[in-house]
């Protein structure tokens, strides 16, 4: 019996057994294309189709959206998504391509959308048929998200949208976008409203998507221009002027501190390549050489590896302690640290990996001699995407200082 299984309710135990059985019989085939590190770097339709097929079959089997009610296409279970996630990780499946849909759009639509909208949108979101993207950031609104200027003007029961979004991950594949925009220019926060918008249907007709290239050389995020796009009022979530509150639901889930567990799969090939964890770091140290000895024998490197192991274990145990109220001084204190810790720990792990590689850290993906296919330098660079996206580390520290410690709000 695994650690996870030990704590299951009856429903969870039965479900776990079902998941295990299904995963044993339905392992997706080996991909014929190189898969990216995460869904945020999906570049080709071949990559996308392979991952979409996998999400569809996992959804058909009931492993996606388990805790949502059946009326909206969910499984109607209680706390079973966590079980499915654990089993999919254990089975080292590919990841799901529709990350923004599953992690952000679904809970937001679920908590703030009209019943009919939920029933129309969520099943195709869960199945991965409709990819979703998030239109929050703009050239003038990053950390200061409430400064969003994209504007919707009322025209009968329609809205006409104009504006410019940036860093929009997956927009090049997305059917739908969750869109934070302004409906009132006189109030910063209360002038914001929140829509879901079918962008793919409007490509070339009110919507332009242009890819942006990341420092790694990958694509994955885009800029999206709205030029008099008309959308129906029924695509609005919650009330007019309540966009900021709705966005908070999105951000809470994006940072892993929301009510609903995000369906998550992954781990395929992660032992061999490119997952920024310390097990792989130790493996790398054993296989690298420093001063004629394995790098794993170097006392300074050993100490720094151990420091990373301790942080990684601290994070894992934090997540466990977050569910034990008697060991928390403040209800959100530990959850709100998740995003900050996860991204900074993996950044430091990747940085250390490059030092362990030494001279070979200079070799990138195209070089046959690059250790582990050049994945560590790439992971290191991508780690900065993680400490910037979804609220930078500095913004996370502001949130923690203000909401948890109660310190005065910074400008």
């Amino acid at each position: 019996m695994s650690d996870d299984a030990r704590k299951d309710t009856q429903e969870q135990a039965d479900f776990r057994q079902y998941c295990r059985g299904w995963l044993a019989d339905n392992r997706p085939p080996e991909p014929t294309v190189r898969l990216p590190l995460s869904p945020l770097e999906i570049m080709t339709t071949e990559q996308l189709c392979y991952l979409q097929d996998w999400q569809q079959s996992a959804y058909d089997a009931g492993l996606v959206g388990c805790d949502y009610p059946q009326e909206v296409g969910g499984g109607g279970c209680k706390d079973c998504q966590r079980v499915a996630n654990e089993e999919m990780l254990r089975a080292r499946t590919p990841f799901f391509p529709n990350v923004i849909g599953l992690g952000m759009a679904a809970p937001t639509v679920f908590y703030h959308g009209q019943e009919e909208l939920k029933q129309n949108l969520l099943p195709r979101l869960f199945s991965g048929e409709d990819i979703w993207c998030q239109g929050f950031s703009e050239p003038g609104a990053g950390s200061d998200l409430a400064n969003v200027q994209t504007f919707a003007e009322r025209k009968g029961d329609k809205w006409v949208i104009n504006g410019h979004k940036v860093w929009t991950s997956l927009a090049h594949f997305a059917e739908w976008m969750i869109l934070l925009l302004r409906t009132d220019k006189s109030h910063k926060y209360d002038g914001l409203s929140y829509f879901v918008v079918p962008i793919r249907a409007a490509l070339g007709d009110g919507v332009t998507v242009r890819p942006l290239i990341k420092m790694t050389g990958e694509t994955g995020f885009n800029e999206v221009i709205f030029d008099n796009l008309e959308v129906d009022d029924s695509y609005r979530l919650d009330e007019l002027g309540k966009g900021w509150q709705v966005a908070m639901t999105t951000l809470l889930h994006e940072r892993g501190a929301g009510e609903l567990q995000t369906p998550r799969a992954g781990g395929m090939k992660s032992k061999a390549t490119h997952t920024t964890n310390t097990a792989n770091l130790i493996e790398l140290a054993r296989n690298s050489v420093r001063d004629g000895e394995p790098a794993s024998a170097d006392p300074l490197l050993r100490d720094r590896i151990v420091q990373q192991v301790i942080r990684e274990q601290g994070l894992a145990l934090n997540q466990q302690r977050a569910r034990v109220p008697a060991l928390l001084d403040h209800p959100m204190r530990v959850q709100l640290q998740n995003k900050l810790l996860m991204t900074e720990i993996s950044q430091d792990t990747a940085a250390l990996a490059l030092e362990i590689e030494g001279a070979s850290a200079s070799l990138y993906l195209g070089d046959d001699n690059a250790p582990v296919g050049g994945q560590w330098p790439m992971a290191y660079m991508n780690s900065y995407g993680m400490t910037i996206a979804a609220g930078t580390s500095e913004v996370q520290r502001n949130i923690l200082g203000e909401r948890v410690l109660g310190l005065a709000k910074s400008k």
Binding site: P299, L317, S410
Partner: protein
């Protein structure tokens, strides 16, 4: 991942932690601590070992000094996670008393099997105890002792003995014909002399103790095995004390940063103050999770106890240093005075940081476990 979803921290443990918090806030607020221990600022002062004996007696009457003693020896038999909860609160109050020493002795005695039974019964009856197992170089390697036993009599000296002047009994390691043995000795036995150390920490006392042909009862002739088995619990409770004290440092500094204004704003408005305080919180939470995770391993998954306990103390030692530094710095000039309470915790944390191995000491051992020993 810890074995039990809730670390085995059940209702009883939660109640104990809550009543401990209340006991210390009601009976021993920080101004009382300051009035009690911060009487002589002279750098050349000798430690005067001020403590509230009556409050300690109340704590004993509540059963807290015998929490870890098995029920079969008349104790309460609480798991380590519950004990860690109590000690976290004790650390938050920086309460001067021989609880940690008594717990340390308890865990070693439990590891002694039958030989430890009589001594455990004395602890269950309210006696305080402490370990006397360290040499004058402060080598945390438990096989190092400068006491030897011949014909049942102890001679030599033990160093860095914690809470020596508050305790009734000593658990002494000594070279014996069998190798390394443990002995149970009364602090007032003929031939025992306690020499107080002049220490930085005002909330503890420490001494070196000399033994001159002291009659002693042997508890086990396999001290090494018993000490090695008990060390994880000993590191974990000290780490719990550190976490509690660090939380006091954090909260006190946050209060100050909210009350004090400069440049027309509370100090905490400035990110050069705000972000380090957040980092202190993050570091405390890491240590706290590692403490309860490790305690859970000792209780339920002994094969992981050593590794997890090393992690807990390594992390807590860093927390002690970091929280202490920030607590003084963010207070500015007032934080640098004798009159401000933060120095009491700064000093307690420095003591705890080094005691039973600092972060580097534990990480070196962890490296051998996790990466493998270097040939």
């Amino acid at each position: 991942m810890a074995k039990a979803d809730n670390f085995g921290f059940g209702e009883e443990a939660a109640l104990l932690k809550e009543s401990a918090r209340k006991f210390f806030t009601d009976n021993f607020p920080t101004d009382a601590l300051h009035a009690l221990v911060a009487t002589d600022p002279s750098p050349e002062r000798m430690s005067d070992c001020a403590w509230e004996r009556d409050l300690w007696q109340q704590l004993v009457d509540l059963g807290w000094s015998m929490l870890a003693v098995p029920e079969s020896a008349g104790g309460v038999g609480m798991p380590l996670v519950a004990v860690a909860g109590l000690v976290e609160e004790l650390g938050r109050a920086a309460f001067p008393c021989p609880l940690l020493g008594t717990l340390n002795a308890t865990y070693v005695l439990i590891a002694c099997g039958d030989g430890g039974q009589a001594a455990l019964e004395e602890i269950a009856a309210g006696q305080a105890a402490t370990l006397a197992i360290t040499n004058h170089q402060g080598d945390w390697n438990v096989s190092q002792t400068e006491v030897s036993c011949e014909d049942g009599k102890l001679s030599g000296s033990a160093w860095f003995v914690q809470d020596a002047r508050k305790t009734d009994r000593l658990l002494v390691s000594a070279r014996s014909p069998a190798g390394l043995s443990l002995y149970w000795v009364a602090t007032d036995a003929p031939g025992v002399s306690i020499h107080a150390d002049a220490i930085l920490d005002l909330t503890r006392d420490q001494a070196h103790i000399s033994f001159d042909a002291v009659e002693a009862e042997e508890v086990t002739n396999n001290a090494l095995a018993a000490l090695e088995q008990a060390m994880p619990a000993i590191w974990i409770i000290l780490a719990a004390d550190i976490v509690g004290a660090a939380e006091w440092q954090l909260q006190t500094t946050v209060e100050y940063a909210s009350a004090r204004q400069q440049f027309d704003h509370p100090l905490g408005f400035f990110q050069a103050v705000k972000h380090p305080l957040v980092d202190v919180m993050v570091q405390i939470d890491q240590s706290k999770s590692l403490v309860y995770g490790a305690a859970c391993s000792v209780d339920m998954e002994p094969a992981r106890a050593l590794q997890d306990a090393h992690m807990a103390k390594a992390s807590a030692s860093e927390t002690a240093a970091f929280a202490s530094g920030r607590s003084i710095q963010c207070h500015g000039g007032i934080g640098f005075t004798w009159e401000c309470f933060v120095h009491l915790y700064f000093k307690r944390q420095k003591h705890s940081q080094m005691l039973w191995g600092d972060a580097g000491w534990h990480r070196r051992r962890l490296a051998d476990i996790l990466i493998g020993e270097v040939a």
